[in-house]
Symmetry: C2
Subunit: 426 residues, 2 copies
């Protein structure tokens, strides 16, 4: 396809999405839930076409020499399909966010003023590898009353097409417009460029993938972007922390999985408990092969731990998102230094304080400028499912519109409604 | 000042604002209210310095041959000062939006998850002529816990500087950082360019002024912009409208003031009541000298009205924001055509239905994709004060983040808070 043809194709999809958005926004809760349950049923049904499409992607990926973990991400195993089908049913069971009216209050003039939750309109979703995102994005679009244009990775194109056909069938079954969920069917990368520069047909772009993809999209987009950048998350062990709890939570926050963005990358310890706490958590990390990069005070304590892999941290370490079995460690003088350190070096994603001191807990909650702030809990909880959003279209590291895990509500906005009895302005 | 010096100045202001934002965000409600009440007191105090500064701006404007209405906008009359002082007191009396925690709910894992309202951080305000905006923006920044950088019009520079000195004194008195509210003290237009391209120090830009200013800023900004573009507002008179009410409300919506963005620019009338309604409203418009630009059906009815200035509407008229004594008029076949017309030609600002038909009222509220949708009320009510926001930093015609009048809440966002007792992720 020529560049002009591709641009025309994207423009055509955009216009169709804009038209479908009106119908999606006005769709009844019953029909949206019907589409979601139909989609769940189809995902649980005849798996042969999905398996065949998926096998083509996997064969191509293996032939191209893609690394094994990346090939694994492509796999639509029965377990993956069961999980996304279950996700559709869960979203069907959630309350409809659209049409909710809040704060409807009488004003002195006689009019009643409130806010109604409405869909954003059309979102564009740009994602890599995992084909299950096709279903997650489609199901969130359907429930939130938005139209969407999906652009998955080229390595998953056959799987995405096969999944999208199920979405089309589900929309049909519920009487919703097929153009409510569209999939870019070419793997030409230029399609992304056209999509993110179409404010007339796209209200927001949600990229999911590597940092370079997200940075490029943010830089070039002419529509708002829900960005998900780094997760340099901190756990701060305060002077009054329950140290058993602190060992358990810090261990979980760092080692339960190394690759998620909500894993703790940096440990701050109050100087009053450093000598009691660091050798204990150091032993846990040593046993699990976690490298510790510390300031002088923590290195002094941690290097005595048998088997510990301890090195001196550089200034760069405080800003690092390792996504690996590495943690930076710093002894701090108290809550003030901890908050200042987190706000300076953190990525405003997720940070936790472990403390029994109520006022310190409240200060940390208020003053740490991150999308998720926690008291006595593992940073690994920062997740749409764990927060009860039913699903998550992404995690925002921005402050505008939505922060942290973005679910159905993040795909809506509030418009004003005014109910009068013929009032006029004086 | 050279371009490099100016860039350094703006960068320095940005860094100072970023540092002050932390203190503004953590400021107690009492100290924020103290600053606001001190500001109100100072505005009501010795008016000589303000009068002198304002006289300099007015003399310069008159010498430059500025049109009389534009010179009038510059005037800090006793009435204007009393109004902005009253505004500061009103904002002081409002609940503090910062720190509000909502929807704190226990999850099956044991953690409690909710959302806390927090300031956005630093906003940049770019505005023209009226110097009272300096006080409105400063007072909203103080109450919402944001830092701000203000950039007023060059024609009001002395007035803005004099008002800003009062803001500095009020911040001092309450122990809040002076850098919490900064004013760009040069009239060099390049300052705007640097300000809107500083994501490291500015979280959102709010432009207030002409369409060309806002479009330029939106195009060039590298930070989110709360845009206020056209107000092509509609009033739709449905078949079941109370016609006395409809005459009163339509008259108010169009003629109470011609220049505001929430004035009705287009009148849609159900064909069933066109013959009864149009001659009545036509007589009102004729008496007030309002030009009517109609489709064939409305021209046929309106041209019989004695003294009416009626012409045939062109396609362009349906999209026009006149801000003048002109209204476009169209007879429609019913609610479907009315909604489709508003969504196609309107600017998604404010639109009203006048009806006694409950289901049509609800459909209009749900399906018209505008920042404010109204039933049986004048579109002129779309305003932060009328909505009870206490003040208004702008009116957003975007869907992302905030729609319609933006008050204190529009300058905040919600972060997630998690309260645990040592829970870990499985």
């Amino acid at each position: 396809m020529t560049s002009t043809d591709l641009q025309a194709t994207i423009a055509h999809m955009g216009a169709a999405a804009r038209a479908a958005a009106t119908k999606m926004a006005a769709a009844s809760t019953a029909s949206k839930n019907e589409a979601l349950r139909a989609l769940a049923r189809l995902l649980r049904g005849d798996s042969a076409p999905l398996a065949e499409a998926n096998a083509r992607d996997i064969a191509a990926a293996e032939a191209a020499g893609l690394a094994a973990p990346l090939v694994d991400r492509l796999r639509l195993t029965p377990k993956v399909l069961a999980t996304v089908a279950e996700g559709c049913d869960q979203i069907a069971a959630m309350p409809d966010p659209v049409g909710e009216i809040t704060n409807l209050r009488r004003r002195p003039t006689g009019i009643s003023v409130g806010q109604m939750r409405v869909p954003l309109g059309v979102f564009g979703m740009i994602y890599e590898s995992r084909p299950n995102v096709t279903i997650e994005a489609a199901s969130l679009a359907i429930k939130s009353g938005n139209a969407c244009i999906l652009r998955g990775g080229s390595e998953a194109i056959h799987s995405n097409l096969a999944l999208w056909k199920l979405v089309q069938a589900a929309l049909d079954e519920a009487g919703l417009p097929r153009d409510g969920v569209q999939l870019v069917q070419t793997t030409d990368r230029a399609a992304v460029g056209f999509l993110i520069q179409s404010p007339e047909s796209v209200d927001v772009i949600i990229p999911r993938g590597g940092k370079s993809l997200i940075e490029r999209i943010s830089r070039e987009a002419k529509v708002p972007v829900i960005k998900h950048l780094d997760g340099n998350c901190h756990t701060f062990v305060d002077a009054t922390a329950d140290l058993d709890l602190a060992v358990r939570v810090t261990d979980n926050a760092k080692t339960q999985k190394y690759s998620p963005c909500n894993a703790t990358e940096s440990l701050l310890v109050h100087e009053a408990v450093a000598a009691a706490f660091l050798p204990r958590i150091g032993a846990v990390f040593a046993a699990k092969g976690v490298e510790m990069r510390g300031d002088a005070a923590s290195v002094a304590l941690l290097s005595k731990v048998p088997g510990a892999n301890v090195v001196a941290a550089t200034e760069q370490d405080w800003s690092e998102e390792y996504l690996a079995a590495i943690i930076s460690v710093k002894v701090v003088s108290g809550i003030d230094e901890a908050i200042a350190h987190v706000n300076r070096y953190g990525s405003h994603h997720t940070d936790a304080i472990l403390t029994e001191h109520h006022s310190n807990a409240m200060r940390f909650l208020r003053e740490v400028d991150s999308a998720s702030v926690m008291v006595n809990a593992s940073t690994r909880f920062a997740d749409g499912f764990e927060y009860g959003l039913g699903a998550e279209i992404g995690i925002s590291t921005d402050k505008f519109h939505a922060r942290g895990p973005v679910g159905l509500e993040g795909l809506t906005s509030m418009k004003w409604v005014v109910l009068g009895q013929g009032e006029v302005r004086q």
